[in-house]
């Protein structure tokens, strides 16, 4: 097969941080090529070099056999390279069609709205899906936004598509549809790069695979057939991945958290909670499965004390939970939000302030009149050491941490003092294998120490692996929790449908 792209010995650093140390990559026409690696391995950086977002410090880029150097993303797009970013580049308040016009009118040569609409309909028919051209983009489901992104890139004339973590934000069924679409695009003669850190994406849907580790290519375009999850994982991580810890049979203690017929209003673009009841005992992990956006965010906000209940009660032990986040924290509740930079950490502030802040709150703050830098630095160093937050100093702004390290810091901030309940929402989303294992081990250890752990996750594998009991959340309702031994994936799927 003819080569579409060849990248050789690409180097790139940001300031003094090297991101690529001589990476190679080749892509053929008509294939789906998986680009695999841990967080921070350099996958996205390498593809951003190809797509003209970054200029390489050294190394060569060839497209269709000719050496090229794109000064900016527009030049790369003109040459037929389209990137579908993990964070979509869409204008929320505009309609679907307006977004397409904005991005493609010039390149596609549309003179008016009708021409754009015709092109959109034709492309939709070709790809086998339909979007409402007048729908507002910020009201679209995530999977539809991704389809719009793909359509946008294709209508702008892309023949080489780079999809950055396309399945990270999708549900199981949506992910399979998206991967199927990638295959379909390759069969039509285009070349598709799938940036991912999910082994499943590689084994099921790609022709070849390139694995990166620490800014270098360690497997350069090997056939995906014949690869195993173990061989890929070893290449990605560099050593044998740590096997998950065996779980001791937990001995559930008394009920630590109880929700009795709780209803609450929806957040913006969210789902209201209807009559939610559950109980979690100390020492167990209760998994809450379900597709994202079915009330999980509201549920966590009710637990934390940010959202008022309109009916029902939240109980800690035998007593009603106190009002407000500070009092609930003091009463032993800890939380890990899905959006860790939104509801969890303070990106602009350094590590030391992030770690020290909760200790200054509540009825018994540890410091009142004199909060010394040295005291905060000590706490930060303890967190860095105790939770293996890599590459950070007490004074480093948290926004500079990678996803995995930020999550470890989040755990370090929350797993402090005496606590009896942890509510974790998608705690491993977007993390690499080692960070996932670290986070899961912490949750397990907490349960074994007698804490009531509530795990809200869209990742069924994670739910099945960690939970003692499972409940399903759908359309703001929660099914009755059942012991893990009695449920399988089919049962959970049926529960999601039955409650609709």
């Amino acid at each position: 097969m003819a080569l579409a792209v060849r990248l050789a010995g690409v180097e790139k650093s940001f300031g003094t941080r090297p991101a690529l140390l001589g990476a190679d990559f080749s892509l053929s026409w008509g294939e789906v090529h998986a680009l695999l690696g841990e967080n921070g391995a350099g996958k996205s950086t390498l593809m951003n070099v190809l797509a003209g977002f970054y200029a390489a410090d050294a190394g060569g880029v060839e497209v269709d056999g000719r050496p090229v150097r794109y000064e900016n993303p527009a030049a790369a797009a003109d040459a037929g390279i389209g990137m579908i970013h993990q964070h979509f580049k869409l204008v929320g308040p505009l309609s679907v069609l307006e977004n397409l016009q904005l991005a493609c009118a010039k390149r596609a040569g549309w003179k008016n709205r009708a021409a754009a609409l015709a092109a959109m309909e034709a492309m939709g028919a070709q790809l086998g899906f339909r979007l409402n051209p007048r729908g507002r983009v910020d009201e679209l489901a995530v999977s539809d936004r991704q389809k719009l992104e793909i359509m946008k890139v294709l209508l702008a004339g892309a023949r080489i598509l780079v999809m950055d973590e396309p399945t990270a934000v999708l549900t199981e069924a949506e992910a399979q549809a998206a991967l199927g679409l990638a295959r379909q695009l390759a069969q039509s003669g285009r070349a598709v790069v799938l940036i991912t850190h999910k082994l499943r994406d590689v084994l099921g849907y790609s022709d070849r695979v390139t694995v990166m580790r620490g800014g270098r290519t360690v497997i350069d375009g090997a056939a995906s057939e014949g690869m195993t999850a173990e061989s890929l994982a070893r290449a990605m991580v560099g050593a044998e991945p740590v096997a998950p810890l065996p779980r001791h049979a937990a001995r559930p203690a008394r009920e630590a958290l109880r929700l009795v017929n709780v209803s609450a209003a929806a957040s913006e673009h969210g789902v209201p909670l209807h009559d939610v009841s559950l109980d979690v005992r100390g020492g167990e992990i209760l998994g809450i499965a379900g597709v994202g956006g079915n009330g999980q965010a509201e549920f966590l906000e009710v637990l934390v004390g940010l959202r008022r209940v309109s009916a029902g009660a939240v109980m800690f032990g035998d007593a009603a939970a106190p009002e407000g986040p500070a009092a609930r924290r003091a009463a032993g509740l800890r939380f890990i939000p899905a959006d860790r930079m939104g509801m969890g950490l303070f990106g602009a502030l350094p590590l030391n302030v992030n770690v020290a802040l909760p200790r200054l709150l509540g009825p018994r703050p540890e410091r009142r009149w004199l909060v010394r830098r040295g005291w905060m630095d000590g706490l930060a160093n303890a967190a860095i050491g105790g939770f293996e937050v890599a590459g950070a100093q007490p004074g480093t702004p948290v926004r500079l941490l990678s996803g995995g390290n930020a999550q470890k810091l989040m755990l370090a901030r929350e797993f402090v003092g005496s606590f009896s309940i942890i509510a974790a929402h998608s705690p491993t989303r977007g993390l690499d294998i080692r960070a996932v294992q670290a986070v899961q081990a912490r949750l397990r250890a907490a349960a074994e120490a007698g804490v009531a752990v509530l795990l809200i996750s869209e990742d069924l594998d994670e739910i099945m692996e960690l939970s003692d009991r499972v409940a399903v959340m759908s359309h703001g309702r929660l099914s009755e929790a059942e012991p893990i031994a009695q449920v399988d994936r089919g049962r959970i799927g049926r529960l999601m449908l039955e409650m609709a």
Partner: protein
Amino acid sequence: MPMLRVSPRLEISNRLLALTLALGILTGLAVSTAFLLTQGMGFADLASQFIGYTLGDPAGLDQTLTRSIALIMVGLSVAVCLRVKFWNIGVEGQLWAGALAATAVVLYHIGPASLRLETMFVASMLGGGLWCGVCAAAKIYLRANEVITTLLMNYVASMLAQQLLYGIWRNPTDSYPVSQTFPRADRLALLGFGHVHAGIILSIAAALFCWWLCTFSRVGVMAKAVAANPVAARAVGVPVGRVILLMATLAGALSGIAGFGIVAGQEYKLTQFVGNDFIFPSIVVAYLARANPLGVVVASVAIAALYTAGDSLKAFYQLPGATVLAIEAVLLFCVSCFEFLIRYRVAWGR
């Protein structure tokens, strides 16, 4: 082809912050100098007016320091609010409220005579604090934008002052729209250097207090969290509304003390001009100081010196009073332009 490359910075050092501020001020001064040279002034005139007179001459220094007393207070007021991203555009109104409250204490003999000054001080804090606290409460409970409310509260206060000065507080002896002159016991002491009065001690003490509050207190750390991410702050248990209310009320009280200093230390009566021309300089001072309370002291003295020089430009070179405003604006503009360099790295390269 070599070209200018602009890329976002990952980390921002304190040295870089200081350097960009210095560059901004120097550029602003250079532009202002060029402007004044076109207005018929020579280099020697500029040097003697701006540096020699304002800081070197006793009369000029007296004027500069006296003016800086109130400027430090209103600068702190804006700076403290900026710590929680609350835009206080209402220091004049708060200053008026403080001045009115202090004057009321004198006119109505409120409190024991031996503690009259202390009562005036507390009253001015209550007046100013109320004036800003109301706006903070409106922001927290009604989601009213504080830029609008604090701005409009300026007019409410100055209209109230006009009403009183042309009404029940009008001086009965000569019918001028000024209050009765304060008795000697109700005045702040002069410190033996021109018009500089005890208010300067209050200003410096206030700056030290704000520095402690923002840097070392529990509330200061909470304020950082509120400014950085209000959603996360609320989730972790920071009482976000109370922190904003506290900082804004404190800020209003600081402006109120400025009003007290003017009526009790400078004018010895309430006049129509007590609360004029503070909004813009207060913002310039807080911005130049990057909301650092100790920096506010330095910036206030510098801006006060600029006003002193402006007065002599008016007298000796027939330049309009707006010259000082123009120079302030140029300084602010240049400093904020150079802030681009804080966030972005600029380099020549391929």
